[in-house]
C-alpha cells in the first residue's frame, strides 16, 4: 500500500461504468461535435470493437444465501490476437450471461469469461461461435503513450446505440487506486477524452495501436477519464500464458520519502536525491527474510528510486511501487539496498498477497456463511461493511471498523485470520430474546475463540451444555440460547425463511 492510502477511501467514490445513466442533451451535442472532426485510421479498428452486454447477479453480503436482482450492464471490448476479446473485469463481473455484438452487426453472440484479473480490472472473453471472428482483425498493442500526445477512445457509451469515438490528450501518468478491486494501485493514464459509462473495456488508440483500456472516471471531476496502460495489460497477458491468472505480486513494503537531512545522516547516506526508506513490512515471510524497516531502497529492478519515493518510468515520475509491478508471481526482483552504511544487492521473491482480500471488493466467490437457529454468521469484510451504508462510521460500528481495517496492521498477534460477524438473526421464539441480533463481531462461542467460520461450526457441533453461549465484541457481551430449543428450531427456521442450505463454506 502506498503512502496516504486510506483503507476507507475506496468507498468515497465508486466510478464503475457498466450501468447506463441518464444523460443530458448538452453532453450529446458535445460528443457529436467531436465526432465530426475525428479521423479514424485506415484499418478501421472499430470493426474489432464490440459491445458487451452482461447480465449479472451479485450476492447479498448481509443475507449471504440470497442474491440481488439480475442487472443488465453494458460495456465495450475489443478483439486481440488468439480470437479473444479484451475488456474490463468490472464489465463482466458476477456474470450469469454475456452477449457480445459486433460493429454494425445485428446478431448477438454468446461469450464466456476465459480469464479475469480483478486486481488490474482486465478480462478476456471467448466466443464459441466461429462466425463471430469472421472478417475481424485483432488490434495490436502500442507503447505507453507520452504525456500531451493525442489518443482516441472507441466504445459504446450510454446515450446511443452505435459506436462512439472521443479524442483527447494524455494528461498525466501516475499510480492510481484501481477502484474495481479497491485496495490496489497500478499505473494509470489520465486523459481528457470523454470516458463515460459504457466506454469501460474499450480500446484507447494512438496510430491504430491500442495504448490503453478505458476503465474509470472520478465523479465530480470534469474532463477526466482513466485508462489502463500497456505495461499493465502486458503483465496480465503474460500472467495468463500458463493458463492461469495469478495476479500482480505484492512486495509487502511501505516506501516513504527520505528527504530529511538528519534522517539521511542517521542512516549514513550521502547526497539528497537517491534512496527512499522502507518504513514497514507486511507480514510476508519471504519479504521479512530479505528486507528490514529502515532499509533504503536505491534501485528496484531497472529503476533508481529517488528520495521523494518515485522512479522515472518512460519519462514519468511515478511512485516507486510501479517498479515492482513488472514482476510476475513467482519472480524475484533485484533490489539495491542501503543498509548499515553499505550497499547490498538483494533479490526479493515476489508473490501475490491474499491476506487483505477482505479489505477490497470481492468477486466471483460467493460469501461464506453459517446459519444456526436463525443466527447468521459470515466473515467480516469490506463487502459486508458496504451493506451498512456509506456512512457506516456515523452509525457507530467502531468495533467492526477496527476489527476489519486496523487490528491486522496494528496488533497482528491478536488479529483473527477471518473475523466472523453475527450478520443478522432470523426471528423465531428460540432466539427472540437476544439483545444483540446483528452487526456484532463474534469473540467466542461456547468458550471457543472464533478465528474463522469453521470455528463457529465446531463450537456449535461440539457443545454439550444446556446452553450455547455467545460472547460478542466489544466487552464480550453475553448471549445465550437454549441448545435443545435451538436444535429443534433450526430446520423450521430454514424452511420459514426459504434458505436452501444452512451453510456455504
Amino acid at each position: 500500500m502506498g503512502p496516504g492510502l486510506n483503507p476507507l477511501d475506496p468507498l468515497t467514490h465508486h466510478p464503475h461504468f457498466p450501468t447506463v445513466p441518464k444523460l443530458r442533451f448538452p453532453f450529446l451535442a458535445a460528443v457529436m461535435l467531436c465526432l465530426s472532426c475525428l479521423t479514424v485510421g485506415a484499418a478501421s479498428p472499430e470493426q474489432s470493437v464490440v459491445q458487451i452486454l452482461n447480465f449479472s447477479q451479485q450476492p447479498l453480503w448481509d443475507s449471504p444465501w440470497r442474491f440481488d436482482q439480475v442487472r443488465r450492464g453494458s460495456g465495450t471490448g475489443f478483439v486481440i490476437k488468439g480470437r479473444r476479446i479484451m475488456t474490463n473485469a468490472h464489465v463482466v463481473s458476477w456474470s450469469k450471461q454475456i452477449l457480445v455484438r459486433r460493429y454494425q452487426d445485428p446478431r448477438p453472440y454468446l461469450a464466456t469469461v476465459r480469464f479475469i484479473g480483478h486486481d488490474c480490472d482486465l478480462a478476456l472473453l471467448e466466443v464459441a461461435d466461429e462466425r463471430f471472428f469472421e472478417g475481424l482483425e485483432p488490434l495490436d498493442f502500442g507503447p505507453l503513450p507520452t504525456v500531451r500526445s493525442t489518443v482516441v477512445t472507441y466504445g459504446y457509451p450510454a446515450g446511443g446505440e452505435q459506436i462512439s469515438y472521443t479524442r483527447g490528450v494524455v494528461s498525466r501518468i501516475e499510480l492510481q487506486n484501481y477502484v474495481h478491486i479497491g485496495n490496489r494501485s497500478f499505473l494509470s493514464v489520465q486523459t481528457d477524452a470523454a470516458i463515460n459509462p459504457g466506454n469501460s473495456g474499450g480500446p484507447v488508440l494512438q496510430d491504430d495501436l491500442v495504448v490503453g483500456v478505458a476503465f474509470m472516471g472520478i465523479p465530480g471531476l470534469e474532463n477526466t477519464g482513466f485508462f489502463i496502460p500497456p505495461p499493465v495489460v502486458e503483465h496480465f497477458l503474460k500472467d495468463i500464458e500458463d493458463g492461469r491468472y495469478d495476479g500482480f505480486p505484492t512486495a509487502g513494503i511501505r516506501i516513504v520519502p527520505l528527504q530529511n537531512p538528519t534522517y539521511r545522516r542517521y542512516l549514513g547516506l550521502n547526497g539528497d536525491s537517491l534512496g527512499a526508506r522502507i518504513d514497514s513490512l507486511l507480514p510476508i515471510p519471504a519479504t521479512e527474510a530479505v528486507l528490514r524497516p529502515d532499509d533504503v531502497l536505491l534501485k528496484a529492478g531497472d529503476y533508481e528510486v529517488g528520495s521523494d519515493g518515485n522512479v522515472t518510468l518512460d519519462g514519468n515520475r511515478v511512485f516507486a511501487a510501479a517498479a515492482f509491478h513488472s514482476a510476475q508471481h513467482g519472480d524475484s526482483l533485484p533490489l539495491r539496498i542501503w543498509r548499515n552504511r553499505e550497499t547490498l544487492e538483494l533479490s526479493l521473491p515476489m508473490s501475490t498477497y491474499e491476506d487483505d482480500r477482505v479489505l477490497g471488493n470481492q468477486y466471483d466467490t460467493l460469501p461464506r456463511y453459517l446459519i444456526y437457529a436463525g443466527l447468521v454468521f459470515t466473515p467480516l469484510s469490506q463487502e459486508y461493511m458496504k451493506t451498512l451504508g456509506r456512512d457506516f462510521r456515523a452509525l457507530g460500528y467502531a468495533e467492526l471498523i477496527y476489527e476489519l481495517y486496523y487490528r491486522r496492521a496494528e496488533a497482528p498477534e491478536s488479529a483473527r485470520p477471518e473475523p466472523i460477524v453475527l450478520a443478522s438473526t432470523l426471528a423465531h421464539p428460540a432466539n427472540a430474546n437476544l439483545r444483540y441480533t446483528s452487526r456484532a463481531v463474534v469473540d467466542r462461542i461456547n468458550g471457543l475463540r472464533i478465528e474463522r467460520l469453521e470455528d463457529v461450526i465446531r463450537a456449535f457441533d461440539t457443545a454439550t451444555n444446556t446452553h450455547h453461549v455467545l460472547e460478542l465484541l466489544p466487552n464480550r457481551a453475553l448471549e445465550t440460547v437454549d441448545r435443545a430449543a435451538a436444535d429443534a428450531a433450526h430446520p423450521e427456521i430454514l424452511k420459514t425463511y426459504a434458505i436452501p442450505q444452512d451453510r456455504r463454506l
Binding site: P3, G4, L8, V256, P257, L258, Q259, N260, P261, T262, Y263, R265, Y266, D279, S280, P293, D294, D391, R393, A394, G396, A398, E399, I401, Y402, Y406, A409, E410, A411, N433, L434, R435, T466, H467, V469, P474, N475, R476, A477, L478, E479, T480, V481, D482
Partner: protein
C-alpha cells in the same frame, strides 16, 4: 349543557386567579434570589494549544444561603472573571468562585461586596421533587423576569460533561428557549433544581436533593468527590441467560460482562456475576432499582446517591450458583482514569514543541476539536482509543498532532495524528515521559517510534540542532512557550478556593 359550562367557568375563574396570585407571590421571592452571571473564560484551541481567546458565557445563579450563589459548573472551568447582576438590570458586581465540582456539575459563587447582598434573600432547596407539581423555570431576560411553566416528565440518569460519574436528573417540559445555563426551577417557594441542558422543549434538570447532598458533603472536611461503577453490565431480558447462570428464582439482576482491573486492587466482581442488589436495593432485569425519591432509576445512580469515592457499596451477587455479598469500593471519578481523558480542568492544554513537531496528550477535548460530529470526523483510530482502558503497557497516549514546517523538519511536514510509542527507546505514555526521554539521545539523534500500523513508523531529529530549531519555529509561528506540561490535579477537581 350550557348550565354545566357556566358552572365550570365559575369554578375555573377562582382557580386561575388563585394560581396567578400564587405566581405573583412567589415571583417576588424568586426575583429576590435569582441573579444573572456573566462568566469570561479561556477558550482553548486544542488544535493550536498555545492559542486562546476569551469566551463570554451568560449563566443564571440562585442565592441559597448567606453569600452563596448556586449554579451549575458547566463552563466555569478556566474562568478569568465572573460578574453578578441582581434584579435583571443595573450594576454588575465582581464575583468569585467558591468551588466548582465538575463531576457533580454544581458550583457556588460569592460576591465580596456586602452592598451586593442587600435585597437578596436565599431560597430553600426542596428535600424531594413532586412529579405532579406545576413547576416554574425562571431567569432574568433582558431586564424582565421570565417565568415558564414546567412539568416533570420523568427521572433518569446521566453522565455529566463527558465524565464517568452518573447521577439522577429530572426531565422537565417547558416552553423555553436557550436554557441549560443553570436556570433555577421552583415548586412554590422551594428550589427543585437547576437546568443544565436542553433538548427541544425538554430541560434536563439537576434535582435539588442531589445538589444538597453535594453542598453538604463539601462543607465537611475531607471531601473525596464522587465515585462511579467501573464495571460493565448488561440486562438479562433473555431468560435463557438467567437459566444459564443457574438462577432459579424469579427473574432479577443484571449480568456483569466486563470489569476493570485496578492496579493492586483485585476486583470483587467477575464477568458473569449476576448482580442482584446494590446497597440492599433489588436490581431488576433492566438494570433499574426503585429509588425512594425518584422511582425506577438505572443502578448507576447508586454510585452517587449519597456515596463518595472510596465508600464501600454492598453488592449481592449470584456466582457459581451461590449468593454472595461483597463490598465494592467506589473508584474516584477523575479525568485521568480513562485512556483518553477529558483534559484537566482549569489548566491550559498541554503540549511540547520539538523543532516544529507538536506533541500533545490525546484527550477528548482534542477529539472534540473536529466539531459537532467529532465522533465521526476525528481520525478514526484516535477516536477509537476512547473504547479502550488504560493498561500498564499503555497508561496514556501522546500524539504527534502536527508539524509546523521548518527546514529542520523537512520530509515530515505532512505528518499528523500519529501515536508516539517510544522516544530514544523509552516508552512514552505522557508528556513527562517525552521530556524525560529527550535526555536519552544517542549519537546526536532523537529517534521517535510511532505505533505499529500508523502511516509512518519512525522520525529522526538532530538532537544538537533541536533547541535552535524550536526557538526558530516559536518565533516564526508566534508561540510563546515551547512546552506546557500538565499539573497534578486535586482528585476532587479544583480545590475549594475563592478567586480574588
Amino acid at each position: 349543557m350550557r348550565l354545566f359550562l357556566c358552572a365550570l367557568l365559575i369554578c375555573l375563574v377562582p382557580l386561575a386567579g388563585h394560581a396567578a396570585a400564587d405566581d405573583r407571590g412567589h415571583a417576588r421571592l424568586w426575583q429576590a434570589a435569582v441573579v444573572s452571571l456573566e462568566v469570561t473564560r479561556q477558550q482553548y484551541d486544542h488544535l493550536q494549544p498555545w492559542t486562546r481567546q476569551a469566551q463570554p458565557v451568560a449563566k443564571v445563579g440562585v442565592v441559597i444561603a448567606s453569600r452563596q450563589i448556586l449554579t451549575t459548573a458547566t463552563d466555569l472551568q478556566d474562568l478569568t472573571l465572573v460578574r453578578v447582576q441582581k434584579g435583571g438590570r443595573g450594576q454588575w458586581w465582581t464575583g468569585a468562585l467558591l468551588w466548582a465540582d465538575y463531576f457533580a456539575n454544581v458550583a457556588l459563587i460569592t460576591v465580596d461586596d456586602s452592598d451586593f447582598w442587600k435585597g437578596l434573600k436565599p431560597v430553600a432547596l426542596a428535600p424531594r421533587l413532586n412529579p405532579a407539581a406545576s413547576a416554574r423555570i425562571v431567569r432574568w431576560n433582558a431586564g424582565s423576569f421570565e417565568m415558564r411553566k414546567a412539568e416533570i416528565n420523568r427521572f433518569d440518569v446521566t453522565n455529566p460533561g463527558f465524565t464517568d460519574t452518573a447521577h439522577v436528573f429530572a426531565e422537565l417540559s417547558a416552553e423555553l428557549g436557550g436554557a441549560g445555563w443553570g436556570e433555577p426551577a421552583f415548586d412554590g417557594k422551594r428550589l427543585i433544581g437547576l437546568v443544565f441542558a436542553q433538548i427541544g422543549n425538554v430541560c434536563h434538570t439537576l434535582p435539588a436533593p442531589f445538589i444538597r447532598s453535594i453542598i453538604d458533603a463539601r462543607a465537611k472536611p475531607g471531601y473525596r468527590g464522587l465515585g462511579y461503577f467501573d464495571f460493565t453490565w448488561q440486562p438479562t431480558v433473555n431468560p435463557e441467560t438467567q437459566r444459564y447462570l443457574r438462577w432459579e428464582g424469579p427473574p432479577r439482576g443484571v449480568v456483569v460482562i466486563d470489569v476493570v482491573e485496578r492496579p493492586g486492587t483485585p476486583s470483587v466482581l467477575q464477568p458473569r456475576d449476576l448482580l442482584l442488589e446494590v446497597d440492599a436495593f433489588p436490581i431488576d432485569i433492566q438494570g433499574d432499582y426503585l429509588d425512594p425519591l425518584y422511582g425506577h432509576l438505572m443502578l448507576e445512580n447508586l454510585a452517587t446517591r449519597n456515596k463518595w469515592a472510596g465508600d464501600p457499596v454492598r453488592l449481592k451477587i449470584w456466582r457459581d450458583a451461590r449468593e454472595l455479598e461483597v463490598d465494592y469500593l467506589l473508584p474516584e471519578a477523575r479525568n485521568a482514569a480513562r485512556l483518553v481523558p477529558t483534559a484537566p480542568y482549569d489548566q491550559e492544554p498541554a503540549y511540547v514543541l520539538l523543532g516544529g513537531l507538536v506533541f500533545q496528550p490525546l484527550t477528548r477535548d482534542y477529539l472534540r476539536s473536529w466539531g459537532e460530529n467529532w465522533e465521526e470526523r476525528a481520525p478514526f483510530r484516535l477516536a477509537y482509543f476512547r473504547n479502550e482502558e488504560p493498561t500498564p503497557r499503555r497508561s496514556g497516549i501522546v500524539i504527534l498532532s502536527q508539524v509546523l514546517p521548518d527546514f529542520f523538519n523537512l520530509g515530515y511536514h505532512d505528518l499528523r495524528n500519529l501515536v508516539l510509542e517510544r522516544l530514544n527507546q523509552q516508552p512514552v505514555h505522557s508528556l513527562a515521559d517525552l521530556v524525560a526521554a529527550l535526555a536519552q539521545a544517542s549519537d546526536g539523534f532523537h529517534v521517535f517510534d510511532f505505533m505499529k500500523g500508523d502511516s509512518l513508523q519512525r522520525v529522526i531529529l538532530d538532537a544538537h540542532q533541536l533547541e535552535a530549531a524550536t526557538r526558530r519555529v516559536q518565533q516564526v509561528y508566534g508561540i510563546q512557550q515551547d512546552r506546557v506540561l500538565p499539573r497534578a490535579q486535586a482528585p476532587t477537581g479544583p480545590a475549594p478556593s475563592v478567586q480574588k
